[in-house]
Symmetry: D2
Subunit: 358 residues, 4 copies
């Protein structure tokens, strides 16, 4: 299934080295102002070649709106967003046609489908997330109307972590550096670590944090479209993600119920608030009005320059020394992808909540 969502539905298509990647958005409400610059801006944050930290593949990633928008606003018809592949250099990948890269999807695609488009990873490439980011930008335009924001940042690269809690972070600093860590000093150390790995022909993973602010109470559809379940589904769809946790997540187990429960209280206006937010803004699969917070673990990029043991398509053991252009660390470019997927989920559930009313 290449479709995600029930009301706000995105259908993804395209391959790394095919003609284009893109997305069809179905269920976007009509009369939404489609700010093309905003969408392109989101795409630019994911664009390869944006800094020395990323792959050398140079794609302009220029957005084309093929349908669903008329005189600057959505019409209620499907919005098709297309991003052409311009700098796909399949020659780099020719040598990969007959070898399975370790910890890549080469072998699993071949076994599942009996065929694989080996050029740049084909359908399994993260290049297809360009379409997702474009869709997420439309979702953000919907959320903007209600002042809901979705903001992700790099919290950890390999062993270099930003130890400041999400609610003490200056989010305006995220875009101040190419690694998208909202702390210039930590960012600088992360950048050095990435360059070091790059020079070693190696790769690094890390953690991206995501914060959804101003989401109203009541978003999320029990029992199988819980807000955290749908966010997990969408985030786990991103290449290289190996884990997700909400609020205190795995660290929750180090506390007892009496320590971890988020006591309810009243704010000055008499509104119900929690005294803490260990749960990450979700109770019973439904937003509780507090900040929604989750963290995502990305494994190190599977493509590395170093030699690796592997097997070729004819069933012989061999040694792989990867060429091709790739990111030594995907996290900086994954920040807009995490935001996009989260925004799509929230938009979907916000619209669902409208439906279920008399």
């Amino acid at each position: 299934m290449n479709t995600l969502g029930n009301i706000f539905r995105i259908t993804s298509f395209g391959e790394s080295h095919g003609k284009a990647v893109g997305v069809v958005i179905d269920g976007c409400p009509p009369l939404l102002e489609i700010n093309i610059d905003f969408i392109q801006h989101q795409l630019n944050k994911r664009r390869p070649g944006q800094s020395e930290l990323t792959t050398a593949r140079n794609e302009e990633d220029k957005l084309e709106i093929i349908s669903g928008v008329f005189e600057g606003v959505s019409t209620g018809a499907p919005i098709m967003l297309l991003i052409q592949n311009k700098d796909s250099n399949s020659d780099d990948y020719h040598s990969l046609k007959e070898v399975y890269r370790p910890s890549h999807a080469d072998y699993t695609y071949q076994q599942k489908y009996g065929i694989r488009d080996h050029r740049g990873g084909g359908r399994s490439s993260a290049r297809i997330t360009a379409g997702w980011v474009a869709a997420g930008a439309i979702a953000k335009l919907i959320l903007n109307i209600q002042k809901i924001s979705v903001t992700a940042y790099v919290k950890q690269i390999h062993k270099i972590a930003l130890e400041i809690p999400y609610d003490q972070i200056d989010l305006s600093l995220i875009e101040s550096n190419p690694v998208r860590c909202p702390n210039p000093e930590t960012a600088e150390r992360m950048i050095q670590e990435i360059f070091k790995a790059k020079n070693e022909g190696d790769s690094l993973g890390g953690i991206i944090s995501c914060l959804i602010q101003n989401c109203p109470v009541g978003v999320g559809e029990p029992v199988f479209d819980k807000l955290n379940a749908k966010l997990s589904h969408a985030i786990m769809s991103i290449n290289a993600v190996k884990g997700i946790q909400f609020g205190d997540g795995f660290n929750s187990i180090n506390f007892k119920g009496s320590e971890l429960n988020d006591a309810l209280t009243l704010d000055n206006s008499g509104n119900i608030k929690t005294l803490s937010n260990h749960s990450g803004g979700i109770q019973g699969g439904i937003s509780n009005g507090e900040a929604i917070y989750f963290e995502t673990a990305f494994k190190p990029t599977a493509t590395i320059g170093k030699e690796q043991k592997t097997v070729d398509t004819k069933g012989n053991e061999t040694i792989l020394s990867a060429k091709g252009r790739h990111d030594p660390c995907v996290l900086p470019r994954a920040v807009p992808i995490v935001e996009a997927m989260a925004a799509c989920v929230i938009a979907d559930l916000i619209l669902a909540q409208k439906a279920y009313s008399l």
Copy 2:
């Protein structure tokens, strides 16, 4: 949405203190032998009152098959499984009608729906997972045909962890103790820890590990029905789950690509295998033939005996001292739930893989 799955679809219904809980399974292949004892056995593992570690609510949880089975086998028609509520004692919950329990779904349900069935948590109660476990048992019967097994166990309770890797564990020991940890010594310490928390009127969380063995290569549908994405969706639907990670998960970030990649090799029969399994058996959202492994974090039970600050439904701050029957630690009873959800996902994707063929 109370339906999960595309091909093998389960639709959940029921409340904690209503007449019954249950599930409709649609898409179960015909001619499956429906072993009622096996299903009941799975239900018994989730049953309240099974040991002193669990809630005192005493439900027999007797399975009734209402439809879809004829002369002992499935017919291809929907299988409706019903479990009556017998020992619901709503009086215990009367005092909760007008108060919101911290870190429970009371407040979010009320805000979302404008009404809530407060009796035992209503729809938000984990009691509804009885239906899921019954559905998971049917899924396991499907998987049994291909010798695929789904096995979960308690890996950690609060700070007491089983440090043995999954592939060195004697799974036959899981049911040897009421806490379902496959190491008697660690289990005993966990049990003591739970009793201690119970006596303090407190609660504990922990980690459940899940292992899926003998799953063939090729299961999982990119890009939005990836095996890990669908497993995350299903597992995150379980009450109290705050995180999920596959393979090395969050620990992946402590390694470089050259250390974490699972090199490919050939086994003695010439079949492709990996030398390690840091990825947890999934590449590109598709099973690679290795053991599928994931871990799930459960927060401590939100219901505790200790006094807590909270707010009542009239908007006054108050102190809650919970009565009602509850588990000081849900993990022992959550083991069959994790297995059930995982089994439903695998069965769904195994059937999907059959569909997409010429």
Copy 3:
């Protein structure tokens, strides 16, 4: 798939001679007053044994609400409605275990599933529509809030037709006779025709008309959830239906565009209306504010007393002389089923229209 609808979703289960039939309704908005008498009243109209025109099977069809309703209103949780089978007499069907009834689903179910529950037709029996009627009653309660009505009646039995156009009919007369034709004189002739067929061991088909009044403009989701497409899907799900037509339907082809187009005009209040309603209230798959009108063709009941050539399950030609209890003409009892399916579709689309808004 035993689920119908996107927002207001019904999942059907049960067999003719199993323990029960029923339905799970997911997506019913919360706070809907659940009038049990109203639901039971709809069920009574479908109930077997209600008049001498129908099968002798005597089922009370007593509604049980198992979940989703608390203190008289819907909670937003799935509503499970159960109707027990009390008077299933499987002995009558014993002789049918090894023979395929002509124009029944016996042979196709056997071939598709490799097994069939032969007792009373099993899953292929129209008995399962009892659950649909109950679900349709809930849908009607939703529509009632907006004063939308769904009314079906028998327009034709075999060659006896009510020639009066839908907009000149006194709908209050529908329930004045057991055949549910809103013209006492025509009804009487229909009744006689049915008795005649019954006495001959034969069966009759006919046409049911359905009228949806007061539906607002804008209901229906192009391009694949068009109002007429979804209505057709739902109505074609009813046993014995062989055709459906909207507005002038097949008769449209006898007119030219200039004759058939529904010219637009203004009513006294300045609202846009059409001067005619050849289109049956739908343009481009969306309601236009006029009465929605469609007709449905039911073939004669396949079960007849007369001898028929057929084949048994061992592959021998044989002669069938059906026993069992059956209706000589299903139309009187199909009237509430048509209404129910139409109501479910309209409710689903009314809720969808709420979702797609900023």
Copy 4:
């Protein structure tokens, strides 16, 4: 919803005068040989400007495959098919910006969405069916493997009908004339009738018959994905369709059960067959191995040259005299559309049947 199907899913996008129309096909099995000439050939049958019977809009309708095909075969990834709009002349439609055409979707779209792309009908134009025909061609390639054929033809234009039953027709004659009626003499009369209407500034409707041959027993998923229900849904999605009937359809009611039942017998090879096919090849929503046959009623084209009373967008009554290019009778070009939608449904259900097996 702009997506149709469960396993073989098509997602439609595009507008009449936008940049392009197209479709994303998800769920196409891998390793299907994608014969581009075949797809283009199907598109050519729907292409405007193919004969003097059709609109003067001249579109080459050249197929572009954007994704999902590698080295001539499907890869299992979504297949995106694009058809650019080249000859959209929006000037013709400028005068329609502020007027609602009778029996068109202008008014309903405006009311539903609060906006409409008036150029050539925007999303409500039958131009978008070009994408459907392309998708249907892929579906036919799947069906070809099992030798299943889907063949439609014009059976009636206005009052000129081909009275020969489907099983006595020489299907090879369908493409022998521009009206696609498999009887040259009747075709000639139809053509004259269409020219006459065209000259009068008027339009005609008619009936398209569709025949699905060699479909195996067992296709169709009770109870809500019945073969006839899904076919009806898909066919009713086509512009201008007002009715559908299977087998004897509405004419069934003129017969008694004893006359209409399809008696079962054995053929020379001992296989079960029916002696007649009044049911149109479907019993209980499942194919029975006989020819599947249905008829579809198309109303006359709503766009006519003659003057019509209508209302403008400012709410004034006015007289419309339509310009723009349009077909006086859509049936010849609708033949490939009917085939395409039927092929998509059959392919979807054929794949579903594979899934539901142990």
